[in-house]
């Protein structure tokens, strides 16, 4: 498809501004002005509408395709939450309003949404307090690690490293490192769990925290999780919970009860806010009581008269991590979703997510080896290692799925599983959708023996065939330029 810039015609306009209704003042002196107008496209409103409507149709999305991208929880995003977000009282509210004298009373509705969401998330996870400020999951991780650093500093300690399993999300070590910590990586044992011998050896008074995903990225719930937490606490370290996989355990167990001290959630995963093509998400952070004083400012508080206000007077706080109160629009959608599902609905969500993932695993295990041969929680990791013997990679199987209208699973993650395919079906997909997807994967497994070329050449039905990624990286072309 042509770029919008290639559709530009000199003099064409797509939008009319109001006429100037004030007397014309002299312009700025030349020194402050740009020499030429920015060369934005000159297109009509219909040009723009058709361009982006047609572009949208080149994407797979949850609303058009099954999207079992592991670790991303691509569940259905209820439509009414979009409508709620667009209510003028929410969408037009200036974030600085409650910071004006007397302005707090002008934002009571939004402050109540934030307060209620923090309370609900605390109860769902068993944590003492929450902040909704982090703007994404990885941003929540960074905030969490900053809280951990502030806690140790307050105790007069400067601990040096954070322990992270080799099966973790890449964001975990990256977040720890950019906050100033060294990373100690613990291998996975033969059963697919954290290697306890290596863990005990690594744990010391230098350990600031242990960062874990639970269930982990292999889709397993570690029955030794409590022991791991107790050992960490014994060494004075804190336990960090990566909430990417919370959709597996709603109402079944709570990170706070297990002994996690800091957790982040991904509202765009467990709480059904749209992924937006890669954001905006939201990564609220919950803490146990001893860490509450360090949470970012401002804090939303409920006064004795039932009104809500912002509290900036927290001298132990790590400070501002976002300009305001978080991605309010995303938080509002998650709040609406939680109210809609309620207690029973949340539990059913996890039960059915786990049911669907195990169903996929059971039907596929004879064709693709399940990682570590175990039953899973809300997602299953399969290996295409035996297909590789025929020269077929997980990537080839993915491209075949695309031709059949399915978004592929997450591939090549976790890094410790050869030719990994991580399938997260979620609770909102019907059995017939799962069956069609499973049948297609079985077909690919059979084709890998009978006709591997059919997999190597896929996809054939998309707007483009396989793209040259090496060329993209070696000869970076990162913007359009007028020839």
């Amino acid at each position: 498809m042509q770029l919008i810039f290639e559709k530009s015609r000199p003099g064409r306009k797509g939008f009319a501004l109001p006429e100037i209704d004030v007397p014309i003042a002299p312009g700025l002196t030349e020194k402050y002005c740009r020499k030429q107008a920015a060369p934005l496209p000159e297109v009509s409103e219909l040009d723009v509408v058709r361009h982006f409507s047609n572009l949208s149709r080149l994407n797979f999305s949850v609303d058009t395709n099954f999207y079992p991208l592991g670790s991303c929880t691509m569940k259905y995003n209820p439509k009414f939450t979009e409508k709620a977000c667009a209510l003028e009282g929410f969408s037009d509210l200036h974030p600085l309003l409650p910071q004006l004298l007397g302005g707090g009373m002008l934002a009571q509705g939004s402050l109540e949404v934030l307060y209620n969401t923090e309370r609900l998330l605390s109860e769902i996870t068993g944590m003492h307090a929450f902040t909704t400020q982090p703007l994404a999951g990885a941003h929540g991780e960074l905030t969490g690690v900053m809280l951990i650093a502030a806690y140790h500093k307050n105790n007069g300690e400067r601990r040096k490293h954070i322990i992270i399993p080799d099966s973790s999300h890449g964001t975990n070590p990256a977040s720890a490192a950019i906050a100033g910590y060294n990373v100690v990586v613990i291998p996975t044992d033969k059963d697919g769990f954290l290697d306890m011998t290596a863990y005990k050896k690594a744990l010391s008074r230098e350990t600031a925290a242990v960062m874990l995903t639970c269930p982990d990225t292999l889709g397993f719930f570690n029955p030794k999780i409590k022991e791991i937490a107790d050992l960490a606490h014994g060494a004075g370290a804190l336990m960090y919970y990566d909430g990417a996989n919370l959709n597996a355990i709603l109402g079944k167990c709570r990170p706070g009860d297990i002994g996690f001290d800091v957790i982040h959630l991904n509202l765009h995963k467990t709480f059904a806010t749209p992924h937006g093509g890669g954001g905006p998400g939201a990564g609220p952070v919950g803490v146990c009581e001893k860490l509450a004083d360090f949470l970012p400012i401002s804090r939303v508080i409920r006064r004795s008269d039932g009104t809500f206000a912002l509290d900036y007077h927290k001298h132990k706080s790590i400070g501002y991590i976002a300009p305001f109160y978080g991605n309010f629009g995303v938080i509002l959608k998650a709040y609406a979703y939680i109210l809609c599902l309620g207690r029973a609905g949340l539990i059913e969500a996890s039960e059915n997510a786990v049911l669907s993932a195990n169903y996929c695993l059971s039907r596929l295990k004879d064709y693709y080896a399940p990682a570590y041969g175990k039953r899973c929680m809300h997602e299953c990791v399969l290996s295409a290692a035996s297909q590789l013997e025929q020269g077929v990679h997980a990537l080839d199987i993915s491209k075949y799925l695309i031709d059949k209208g399915f978004h592929p699973p997450t591939i090549y993650f976790p890094l410790i599983v050869k030719e990994a395919m991580m399938i997260e079906p979620t609770e909102t997909e019907s059995k017939e959708t799962l069956d069609a997807f499973i049948d297609c994967l079985i077909e690919a497994a059979l084709l890998s023996k009978s006709n591997p070329e059919a997999l190597h050449s896929a996809p054939l039905s998309m707007p483009v065939k396989r793209l040259d990624e090496t060329k993209a990286a070696r000869e970076p072309n990162l913007r359009w330029q007028q020839k």
Binding site: S53, L93, L100, G103, Q108, L135, G170, K252, R375, K399
Partner: protein, 445 residues
């Protein structure tokens, strides 16, 4: 309502295939002592009931104020086509385009967004977006530290206090030295910047227009910064770039900013859009996703995520940033918005903002006891000195239907009588005159 399609019969079939009796069997391995101590969540409600609750809450927010509050976040008009197109579920229910063949729509849109950001800033390379203007500035500072191998950063105090506070919070464990230089006559103080600039300096950070609304040309600062082997970073307000000298024209190395003003609702602070653009030689230190053009097997143009060797999913603790997602949907809104306005429209928008603000300056200056600060030129926001505490004036004007500005005393000591006033294209001549009249009334009473 739980959005689960499985019927009881289907559940039974699925359990049978798995080889277990009940769903509980699938959770059996979670030890009993780890089961929830409580799970006290209200029972679910229908969509209708939840919507009614939210409507009531939304009405507890003020929506009828005439808005002169800016401070980096502005009340601009959003064309309906932006909502209509960004509201297409084929965009908003997709995820990061890991699989390029079935994500060409998103990839092309991001490539186009990157182009627009480069054109506005006058720089060579943009990434696919960051969370907001503050985190973008932090990422820029970290880029400068990596590129220069130095750890001292000079920050002009005309940079938003919100962003400076974020910068200090993020780097509190990294032994980076920050030096703040004062604003003199409304603009960045050259003398003080040069005094601190040395061979340990990684970067100088400035903002245009600055928090007080003053416009500047940093070309002279940039020249001195480069002589020291440091980088020049500018946080900029994108709508002003319709008219103001671009960071690229000033020689700036890294430009960042808050993209909210490009078709994104104020929405009480988010989701917003951080943008970052750099000179070509710095692109391999950029954080986050980047989209590049390439060709497919048939030599047909297509788009992919590229330069991924910088990123956390490959480099883990050695990545340039921990960023995983971006703010794609907000970037899409900014792209659609700038395309609708187009080359001449975007200039006209900037001009309209400037002219309305100039009129407001003249009008407010006539109010008894009010003095508009005129030491430096401004774009669409400016500082006024009031004869009494700005907090109280703001409070009184709220009762008259105006959010009349941001009291600077909240962020700057000694400026208790100063008010920061923003005027966008949405403010009419009549509203500006009414604001001045109400201010006169409040000050006289």
């Amino acid at each position: 309502m739980n959005y689960i399609p499985h019927t009881e019969l289907e559940k039974k079939e699925m359990l049978k295939t798995i080889g277990v009796e009940s769903v509980d069997d699938l959770f059996k391995h979670i030890p009993a002592e780890l089961r929830p101590k409580s799970f006290n969540i209200p029972e679910g409600k229908s969509e209708f009931e939840v919507m009614e609750h939210l409507k009531i809450l939304s009405r507890k927010n003020a929506t009828n104020l005439t808005d002169f509050v800016g401070g980096g976040f502005y009340d601009h008009y959003i064309p309906a086509a932006v909502d209509a197109l960004a509201g297409r579920a084929e965009f908003y229910t997709a995820y990061t385009p890991y699989q390029p063949e079935c994500s060409q729509g998103w990839l092309q849109a991001i490539y186009e967004y990157q182009t627009v950001i480069c054109e506005l800033t006058g720089l060579d390379v943009s990434n696919a977006s960051l969370y907001d203007g503050g985190t973008a500035l932090y990422e820029a500072a970290m880029m400068a530290v990596r590129l220069s191998g130095r750890k001292k950063i000079i920050v002009d105090s005309g940079v938003s206090l919100i962003y400076r506070t974020m910068l200090y919070a993020y780097t509190s464990n990294l032994s980076i030295e920050f030096v703040e230089t004062p604003v003199v006559h409304g603009q960045a103080c050259r003398e003080d910047i040069y005094k601190h600039l040395d061979d340990k300096t990684a970067a100088v950070i400035v903002q245009n227009p600055n928090f007080f609304g003053a416009v500047d040309d940093f070309s002279d600062i940039v020249e001195r910064v480069h002589k020291c082997g440091a980088l020049a970073i500018a946080s900029v307000y994108p709508v002003s770039l319709g008219m103001l000298k671009s960071p690229g024209e000033m020689g700036i190395d890294i430009a960042t900013g808050e993209g909210q003003s490009l078709g994104i609702p104020l929405s009480f602070g988010g989701p917003y859009l951080g943008f970052i653009a750099v000179k070509k030689e710095h692109m391999r230190q950029l954080p986050g996703r980047i989209v590049g053009a390439t060709v497919d097997k048939d030599n047909k143009r297509g788009f992919v995520l590229t330069l991924q060797a910088r990123e956390q999913h490959i480099r883990r603790e050695r990545a340039t940033s921990n960023i995983c997602s971006n703010e794609a949907l907000c970037a899409l809104r900014a792209l659609i918005y700038t395309c609708l306005l187009g080359k001449s429209g975007f200039y006209e928008l900037a001009r309209l903002n400037y002219q309305k603000a100039e009129f407001a300056k003249v009008t407010l200056d006539k109010v008894t006891g009010v003095k508009v600060k005129r030491s430096a030129p401004t774009f669409n926001e400016f500082t006024v000195c009031l004869p009494k505490n700005a907090d109280e004036v703001v409070c009184s004007l709220i009762d008259k239907g105006f959010a009349c500005g941001f009291p600077l005393g909240r962020f700057y000591k000694g400026l208790d009588n100063y008010l920061l006033v923003a005027v966008t294209e949405k403010r009419t001549k009549e509203e500006i005159v009414q604001f001045a009249n109400s201010l006169e009334a409040v000050l006289c009473s």
